[in-house]
Symmetry: C2
């Protein structure tokens, strides 16, 4: 019997009525002939309550105890969902992470999957169980302690189960009805995509379209799990939501499928640094150790004259990071300079920038995407501060005040309002 994985997030199981609503969607899939594995989050608000208790109890908390406390929210939902399904006459039972068992590493708070053995759940399916309700976000370490996967980890749990059980699809039920060409709060022309490739979804997820956890999309791509994002609060049809799938499952490929944005960015430039092998490592090593998530990096050849202070070739280095990490980045650079690991004349921070990106696998075959993007921004009078590109993405840093304007103009320029691709 084909296995389907369905995942319900916190807002989809926020109270008993919503659990009943989610259970009805599960029943519909059982009636369509699936064996279903349901992954549940904690009832919305519960995880925050538990996290608050932990941080009020201990300043520097033991991550193992944090995990043991925080994982309990999902256990409650799993039991209630199983009960609700049973009440509807569907053979169901709950599974906590250690019961499956969901084997993970010991990195508490951000554990990684090692293995999800199928034996226990498959045996129950063989005995007539139709639905296995699994507590998301958690696992079991080699030391027999409860681990968690980090916030949003239930998406990842769902994909991992879909991979482990060769599921026909992994449906992620959430409070939005799919992935959009851009943020609908910025332009009403934003349109739901019927399909998107893993690669595009990854770029969009990491660029700030917070529908799916990046890690879950990576996992889906690696194991070719067909992922569908859809709303818990709407009737489900064949065309509901957005299917995240392999490139070859997408017929038409427009050059650009979406415009992403990230508002709280900062740009940091180190002026007049030595241009020598190892200088990048000397800069970005300390930043990584300080926990700074460096995003774009640009190195300019500086055409300065030779001077006594800098006898070798010199250059400038610019990078971006989230604006709230600027103090950490500055301290890391100052410390590195103080101990002689790097040398720079000046460190300039621009913490008033935003990032706008266009994404699409079609870029590989369509030429002129970059040109059109830059022309569009120029026409609006928007200055580009940094450019960075990947095979399927072009990102620019611009003044933050132009962010909405840039998104709207690019959405128009690439005709994203047009008929959806399928």
């Amino acid at each position: 019997m084909p296995v389907l994985v369905m995942k319900f997030g916190g807002t989809s199981v926020a109270d008993l009525d919503r659990i009943a609503n989610a259970a009805a969607k599960v029943r519909a899939e059982v009636e369509r002939g699936h064996e279903v594995i349901v992954i549940v989050s904690a009832m919305s608000g519960k995880t925050n309550e538990l996290v608050k208790w932990v941080s009020e109890t201990a300043t520097f908390y033991d991550a193992r105890e944090y995990d043991a406390v925080v994982a309990s929210g999902e256990n409650v939902t799993a039991g209630l969902m199983a009960l609700r399904l049973q009440e509807m006459g569907i053979p169901a039972r709950s599974w906590q992470g250690w019961q499956v068992p969901i084997l993970t590493t010991s990195q508490h708070g951000s554990a990684r999957f090692i293995d999800i053995p199928r034996t226990n759940i498959e045996q129950k399916f063989a005995e007539g169980m139709k639905v296995a309700v699994v507590a998301g976000f958690q696992g079991l370490s080699p030391e027999n302690r409860i681990t968690t996967l980090g916030r949003g980890g239930s998406d990842t749990t769902a994909v991992a189960f879909a991979a482990a059980f060769d599921a026909v699809r992994c449906d992620i039920y959430t409070d939005v009805d799919g992935v959009y060409t851009t943020d609908p709060r910025i332009t009403k022309k934003a349109r739901k995509l019927d399909r998107i490739s893993y690669e595009e979804m990854l770029e969009l997820a990491s660029l700030g379209a917070k529908v799916l956890q990046t890690r879950s999309v990576e996992l889906a791509m690696r194991y070719k799990v067909r992922l569908r994002v859809l709303s818990s609060f709407e009737e489900v049809t064949e065309t509901s939501g957005t299917l995240v799938c392999a490139e070859e499952d997408i017929m038409e490929s427009k050059a650009v499928v979406g415009v992403a944005h990230s508002r709280e960015e900062a740009k940091i430039t180190l002026f007049t640094i030595e241009d020598r092998p190892g200088i990048a490592a000397a800069i970005f090593g300390p930043l990584a150790e300080a926990g700074v998530n460096v995003d774009m990096i640009v190195q300019n050849i500086s055409e300065k004259d030779y001077d006594e202070a800098h006898p070798g070739a010199v250059t400038d280095m610019t990078f971006s990071c989230p604006v709230d990490q600027v103090p950490r980045a500055r301290r890391a650079m100052e410390e590195a300079r103080a101990r002689g690991a790097i040398n720079y004349d000046d460190l300039i921070i621009d913490d008033d920038v935003a990032k706008v990106s266009v994404v699409g696998i079609g870029m590989r075959s369509h030429t002129g995407v970059a040109a059109r993007m830059f022309t569009t921004l120029a026409r609006e009078g928007i200055n580009i501060k940094v450019i960075s590109t990947s095979e399927i993405k072009i990102s620019v840093l611009i003044d933050r005040k132009y962010m909405e304007l840039a998104v709207q103009a690019l959405h128009d320029a690439f005709a994203l309002e047009g008929a959806g691709r399928s």
Copy 2:
């Protein structure tokens, strides 16, 4: 190093401040040189919330799912308590039932202990851990499912751990400061006992002095666990609380140590039943099946004349049960009569009675306790409806309106206000 078990009930861990207060008491015991096993209940109110969710989700719930949901409350407290202790600099960790593992039968909702292997916890003690915080009330079935022991099961967990680890003592922290000679709400002369024997405590617990779960006292008696009941909200000293211990640890033995009462009792009499072998089984079998907790039983030889309807010897049978079980008891009797299993002329219910008991191991050596009890009640004009005795207890059923008067008079008559025994 001597192991001490400390158990904190729901009101003792109701919020983060109270958890901190309980943790301070644990620290004091660590400083006195103990390795401590702490058994915690759910934060007060939490279990009720979870139970409510379960019963609102499913009418006839799967007890296995009920247990999985309801046990999560204790897991939260265990983690928070471990964190709080760590914050105080005490090496501690939490243990959920399946991690110890606490092996129980599969009777979900009222599971029984099979074994509590010491290996895992002892290994951590050997590595320098000072406190193992264990989630009470739960265990693990042979099918790898979470079980619970029934309400109040955390007391039983505590005693079972004390037995398994040969603990020097099992301290039960609660919201009262010990076991009293009688209910202080009925007479201000009620006095805290310093010591009480297991047998006496069992009689008092089952008679309505709700300080300790009956099952936990039974278990303590079987394994000779020294149990101390004391308040979470008072300074702990050497003489705090009440020690429940073996008879030989009690120096002085007064005839009577306490007067217990149970308000909501009912008396049911079956008139003119056949007096033949097997008639008691024919009556009390159906009552047990109907879930009626029969307490006192009295059979009178009826001196009625022979008549046609009852050719053999006849008798009357009287028993008592909690007043809310009367409808069930009546139905069970009527059904048994309808199918010819028993025969009676009349069934009379008196649902306006209460039970008052005097308890004391000293009764075995002191004579005249019954006589003094009956004389005292007679002097107050209280009619005795049923009498039942055990080796260390005399109970009577009386009109409910006289209950307080009877307790007060007996407390005076046996001089329980006097100096405590030790």
